[in-house]
Symmetry: D2
Subunit: 390 residues, 4 copies
């Protein structure tokens, strides 16, 4: 191992996504033979004490409290951005300009303008061999990688329809406080950008196609919520008042038309009681159908229309075979893996691409296109749901 | 039994729906203690020989080849209409005026104008104790009747969302010929009216609410198809040419807003390969969620949000208990019933209402409202998907 | 239809099984083109008034209160026996000797001696063109008929194991009274004969093989129960005492060895809380596995081991295609049928065999073999579970 | 963290189980606040080069090629035994005598005599504050821990039955070579000890009860298999001959009687085609039923019999809530975890018990009892399946 190059990582943010990314950085080299040795060099957060605690727990070797300082460090090769969307553009562009590779959580940015600037910076950096990737981790689930392979091989024939939903229920109670994810200035949008972005990317990834027109409707069921104890992040509201406006969507419905002729329906909601993390997607082609659910992520359901109907049916493929993408690194067949290994595989794919001098996907250009779809949806929603080109 | 009044039925049409209705007429009195003795008096069809054969097989006592003659018969009390939608209005209105009760297959009509005339005729007849019903049989599935009861009791709390689809795949092959269901002049519309009408009615029935605004998109994936051997029903096409235009939608996507504030998404398609008869509907309320699938119709899935989350989950209720609506007439718990008994229960509900002098539901007014929803969808689809009031 | 021969049926018993059989007799001719016209000639029961009510409800043309009188009637061609097991032998043998075909509910008898006498009478009658059949209706479920076909075609390769259970829960409450099914003199045995007989027959039917050795264990969890209000059927107990002994098994566990080398495990229980009518069976062969559940009877699950493992999985076949056995008589694909149509198909198969002069299956010889298996199980259970030849 | 005591681990064996255990040692301290700092001090294997490679990949700081040398090291506090069963007793006893805590993979030993010696050594060591644990990791799955909690609270009422199976299919092909797991001198037994031990322990754990009598049947479907290329481990066979005898069972069927009165059926097989790692267990009590499947390990199915039957059903609990045992360390609800974290949680429980000076469970005494059950099964199987006391 000693002659492998070293890739030192600095990560910004240590909340939910920071924990998931950290896990990816320490696990990937244990299960995969990566082309570089990973150094978990530095963790960056605003609060020094809490950041130090997190670094100790999550295995980061040093701490920074200013992301600019981290970007300036010579010993760091890659910046991993796990902060809310409003800071993505600034950090990513600075890092790329400083010659650091970048892994940026989705959605890429809070606006098309930011995303365009980021994609431009990434394109410019790529010419210098410095690469940027956006973290659509669901692409890395073995069952999804298998699904894409089947579609790419033509097993579904002409694709006609996509039916996807991302259903959660964590704010169904009106007493859930006004977190940053419910504030437009921080989060950009609500269910649409947070989880709708996942299904838009996933559909495009599976079909290897792009959404070129969209119609959208947004709804905020609960229009004001209690302010968090510290009043943080409440633009235009007095903390003392007790309640603040929810400025993002609770649920979003999107229709999209793909360049290749397929039509997709997408639904993202935080009000589907009982659905905890139910990203479901179905792809219907003339020769078959695929169905997948993130809550049961090791399973891919496949209807093969070329089998005589009398014995055809949805086949519950437990995607844990040695030949399943990513799976040879893991356990014998039937031993399922968990949600977090989308992040493990993301590290594998990112490091492999960097070592090969190739553009990792999803690229910032891919992320920009998702951002344009979300933007078309918001414009459509503001114009009575009319179909608009992306 | 001898002192029960007799209710003699004349049925028009003997294809798929005629067979299903016949089964309802002969089965209901065997399993339920109906308030009238059912007479399967006459079957009407244009072809005398084929109609006679069907009558013998299906148990009808006599045959007519002109529905007007059947409507004129004194010994017939109820006309059951199982023909394509373009003939519903004429037959139903004539029958009601002749003092016959009417059961009419869905969708009520091919246009709002026809449906309005029918609803007016039904309202006028009802004053004379003559009743009309439209055949939304999915209302009669025990699991659905149980679902409606739970919602009516407030078990789901405030309803936020409905997510429904009716997925079939019978025309995914471009070589499937141009049947009457694919021709607008006969069928009115395609997936929208045929199966989309079912989910619109079912959602309104479950919520006991009405869709007041809609946005719609329609798509015809396969735009021309082989003409059937006899060239029948091909408006504006020469049979010899081999192909004719598909003039209805293959798939329809609808968003609807309910008067009570809920938002529904509805998808009807004949291109979902592997989905044979998959009418799925999910209702999300603040206190719970219900999910049901027609392909597994004895099961109602229920997430009760008032149970502590650590032990909450979707409960797979096998709706075959003595206390389940309709089920005491059937078998011990766990012995499932089939799709056709929606028609059996429809007979039970219709005959019970008539005997009690009460309006059976779904009324023609209910059917008219569904028609208005479908109409709004078609107008929206023709105007780039814009939201329109119903 | 008028030149078809007439087959007049007389049925004994009108409880649960009588209702299910009646349904079969009236439904089969409506959906299938049978080679005979069915006459539902007479219903026999001890209580004249209740029998008359049942006959009116279930569609039987006349009533008898003594089965001997019914067997003696010239206008009756077939006797359908739906009584408890202690009367099967006497009625069936008398009917066969009187030249009547016989359909007898399972289990064939309460003892091997009775079953032997019945099989002998059936063999003798068959030489005269008079046939006997035992009612193992699960053989007639389309998904099961498809499963047998796949196995017969060699699709599973060498069969290694069968894993079956019939789980119910109707007596889990100790306050459930001492019904005839819980008394050995009436029922012969408990879960073993009532529902264990079903799985033994079903396994033998699917494999087209016979169980040649068995090991058994029986358990009665609740050893005494309240006497029914009328004290009926309480051998050796004073009704006034309130409780009587349960003299049959609550649950039975059986291992069986098939002539062909497979090993089967069978479990029958009335104490599996929440399992209402869960007859599940799995057959494992070197080349594939089949799994089926009576509570979801339209579905056959099939794992095809010849498909590469990376895309293999249990295929959920919805057995409702035109090519599915029995299904062309029914509805379009995806419209499921109910439990009762095992009885409908049983009528079809029985009438077809009689018209062709062929032995219907399951024959009384088949039923006798099941009885011998049950007997070996009881002897094994009485001898510490030792393996015994059947 | 600096004032926490250090616990240095030395592990023997680095195949499948060694990889899984390593993962547990490095992951547990990242997600849980353990009472000790874990040192992955040494990995022991016979082949120095391969052991060094494994140590580098899996994160062990040093290498030993003789377990005795590792046991003798002063800097090691705990020996983790991941070798085949024939070496467990010798290593574990030596380690305990040397004052090292021991974690030993299941089954505890290859014979009752060995297991007794191990349990005696563990009891003696425990008096000195040195503890031994056997690795029944399925106890640590959150859904299982929840199940045990529900049962302990009396939620199922009187337990009547357990129905469990561990189905795999990895040797269904007769060409699978004669691995050490198929040789009695190495593995002790086949499916019985390898996977049957898991279900016996799991049932006893869930019920908090012990199996006191058993009846068993064993079967070897494929009696000889190709010898592995290096002929390793073939006692009494010439490698050149090409085939060697399979000396263990391919499948095992066990009935067990619990001290508390419940009856359990257990089936372990390596011939259930399509079942990859299907450990299923159902517990039926008077007040409810629980069902779980290792292939879908985040889900616990629960039927609550105290809910009115009309709305009761199996509740699919996604055991990923903050209140779910072990789960607060992980992700938001709905984000599932994988099979390997049974090992992560095992490290948590072991380290916590050691730090508290308490006996971790499963103890060697627990493992000994499982061994006695397996022994009774083997003796029963050799005596025609007769019931024997454990």
């Amino acid at each position: 191992m000693s002659d492998k190059p070293r890739l030192n990582v600095g990560m910004v943010g240590y909340a939910f996504m920071g924990k998931a990314h950290s896990q990816g950085w320490w696990t990937a080299p244990r299960f995969f033979d990566l082309p570089a040795r990973i150094g978990m060099a530095a963790l960056c957060g605003r609060n020094a004490e809490r950041t130090s605690q997190a670094a100790a727990q999550l295995g980061w070797a040093s701490v920074e409290t200013d992301w600019r300082a981290m970007v300036a460090r010579d010993d760091i090769d890659l910046i991993d951005i796990c902060t809310p969307g409003d800071s993505h553009a600034e950090i990513a562009i600075a890092a790329l300009r400083a010659g650091k590779h970048v892994l940026c959580e989705k959605p890429l940015a809070n606006s098309v303008a930011e995303a365009e600037a980021m994609a431009a910076a990434a394109a410019e950096a790529a010419e210098r061999g410095v690469f940027a990737m956006v973290g659509f981790t669901n692409r890395r689930v073995p069952a999804i990688a298998l699904a894409r392979k089947l579609i790419a091989e033509g097993r579904l024939g002409t694709i006609r329809q996509v039916r996807a939903a991302y259903q959660q229920d964590w704010i169904v109670d009106p007493q859930v406080p006004l977190a940053w994810r419910l504030q437009k200035d921080k989060a950009g949008s609500g269910a649409l950008g947070d989880i709708g972005a996942h299904i838009a990317d996933l559909a495009q990834f599976l079909l290897d196609d792009r959404i070129v027109a969209a119609s959208g409707t947004l709804e905020t069921f609960v229009k004001s919520r209690p302010v968090q104890a510290d009043g943080s992040g409440l633009a235009g509201a007095q903390a003392g008042e007790g309640f603040g406006d929810v400025t993002v969507d609770d649920a979003a419905w999107v229709l999209g038309r793909f360049a290749g002729g397929a039509v997709g329906s997408f639904e993202a909601t935080r009000f589907a009681t009982g659905r905890k993390n139910a990203l479901t997607i179905e792809v219907n082609g003339a020769d078959g159908t695929l169905f997948w659910n993130l809550e049961d992520l090791n399973v891919l359901n496949y209807y093969d229309n070329r089998i005589p109907a009398v014995e055809a049916g949805f086949r519950r493929i437990l995607a844990t075979e040695p030949e399943t993408p990513y799976y040879s690194a893991w356990w014998p067949a039937g031993h399922i893996i968990g949600w977090e290994h989308g992040f493990t595989h993301q590290v594998h794919d990112l490091v492999t691409a960097i070592a090969a001098g190739e553009q990792p996907r999803a690229s910032f250009a891919d992320g920009l296109h998702v951002q344009r779809v979300l933007d078309a949806v918001e414009r459509s929603a503001a114009d009575r749901g009319i179909w608009l080109d992306v």
